[in-house]
Symmetry: C2
Subunit: 290 residues, 2 copies
């Protein structure tokens, strides 16, 4: 306590003399920092919390629902209903199918009819999204030259990652993952799907339209895509090439409102494909029944 | 230019006298603002950009891959391979099935065997995730008292939203969406699934384990869940009850590292269920072929 008191006594005259300068300067600086930070954040449009609470992902009860025809009547909805034994069988088959899914990085170059990829993508495009914004752009690359350019971009980034990180842990990791900065599978796989997220929409007059929950919306859509790929026996490597995003966006000439979120090479698994053994969390850790 | 010069001439003596106070004050304030902002961000663990670039979603080439047995050998991977005509047929069936999916808010209380929900959830739990973190907790609520409490929490929040927002647009919105702050379907639906995202992991010694891309990972898993529900003929309302999140987390007694991400009532669609007409973006707007 003595220390604090003597400190105060020492600096009080200073604070009295300069307070009129320090306080406004501090206020201006904090305001500036706040504004700069707000601006940086608005670039990502990450909605941490909004008053659009309990916002339905494709039916939105708030004014931003541009995608509805306000005067249209509701239409009846009829679900496909199955007997419960059939529901059980279908749920088991779906579980077994998805349980077999793994992230695979070994592909063959065997061609795949485009209609298969289209159907799976169109299913993903019917995903729910925040205020029905449908904030995804799927760029499907099959052109060998463009695939080679994508590989170059990813390898340049990955090489930096690997070379920066070389050390004791490196050899061990390499052994288990059998991977390196080299990504030949980006050229082997017949398709490379670049998934972009739209940060905001653009109206025909060029003005911006706010989008909400774009991360969640695009990722839900990708979940449906992964189920669709598994359902036809194709594999993919789910990767998040964020540092390579700007270069990929430039290569694909995508507009300023889009950001690369995922990169998915798609093809048949190689005959000799291998995967590392996975440790799944126990069911009790993932699922609770109340 | 004259204006700037005379302004400088006017304030230069002030800046000379007080510069020694203004500059350090500004520096300290910016530093403080930066640190406070960093701290706020680290609370959300939103990975905007990381050096873990091109990080595979379930095979991770970087040191944070705790979930692998470092000494285990790779294992062979065998995909289910179908003739291409069958692949086309399966992709069409999947597309047709998912195209019928809609966010539905009218449920019956018809019971559903738990094994169906389990299978669909277990499929979602086999989703890829950043560094194999599996950062999801699915709390499945069927207990009527807990469902009623969830309804209370959501309605209290929604009522504030609706009452704050009442105005010209309100009647119009209400007409098209046929919705209000009242959410009886949260009690009617036999299951309400609360999807929580783990911001970080907790080791057995209590220390924190960094998780990456938790938003994307959990949402991909939810996409698989939605496909699984559609596959058995059940419906859900995909909602993001973020403002109600803390109250829901408290009700369900979930730990500090978890955040409510989505709330999904699950059941059979009511016989007279309706949905608003949706405007889907054109295929050209969603899918590009390069």
């Amino acid at each position: 306590m003595d220390g604090i008191e003597s400190t105060l006594r020492l600096y009080a005259p200073f604070l009295v003399s300069y307070g009129a300068v320090i306080v406004p300067t501090a206020a201006v600086c904090f305001l500036l920092a706040y504004l700069l930070n707000r601006r940086a954040k608005s670039g990502t449009f990450y909605v941490e919390r909004t008053t659009d609470d309990a916002q339905d992902d494709d039916d939105n009860s708030h004014p931003s629902s541009h995608e509805y025809d306000d005067d249209a009547e509701h239409i009846p909805y009829r679900a496909d209903v199955y007997p419960q034994e059939e529901m059980i069988a279908r749920s088991e088959a779906f579980h077994m199918m998805m349980q077999k899914r793994r992230t695979v990085r070994f592909f063959t170059d065997r061609p795949i009819p485009r209609t298969i990829i289209e159907n799976v993508l169109y299913a993903a495009g019917a995903s729910p999204s925040g205020a029905n914004s449908q904030p995804w752009t799927y760029v499907v690359v099959s052109n060998p030259a463009t695939k080679a350019e994508i590989r170059d971009i990813i390898e340049a980034e990955e090489r930096i990652n690997y070379e920066r990180r070389m050390g004791d842990a490196w050899v061990k990791e390499l052994r288990i993952l059998k991977t390196s900065w080299r990504k030949p599978h980006l050229e082997t796989a017949p398709y490379v799907i670049v998934v972009l997220r739209q940060l905001y929409g653009v109206r025909s007059d060029g003005s911006r339209k706010n989008y909400y929950y774009t991360d969640i919306s695009v990722a839900i859509s990708v979940g449906i895509l992964l189920a669709g790929l598994q359902n036809v026996g194709l594999v993919t490597t789910t990767t998040t090439p964020l540092n390579a995003g700007p270069a990929l966006r430039k290569l694909l000439q995508r507009p300023a409102n889009e950001r690369v979120m995922l990169l998915l090479p798609v093809g048949y698994a190689a005959e000799d494909a291998t995967v590392p053994p996975l440790r799944r969390k126990s069911l009790d850790e993932q699922f609770l029944w109340v």
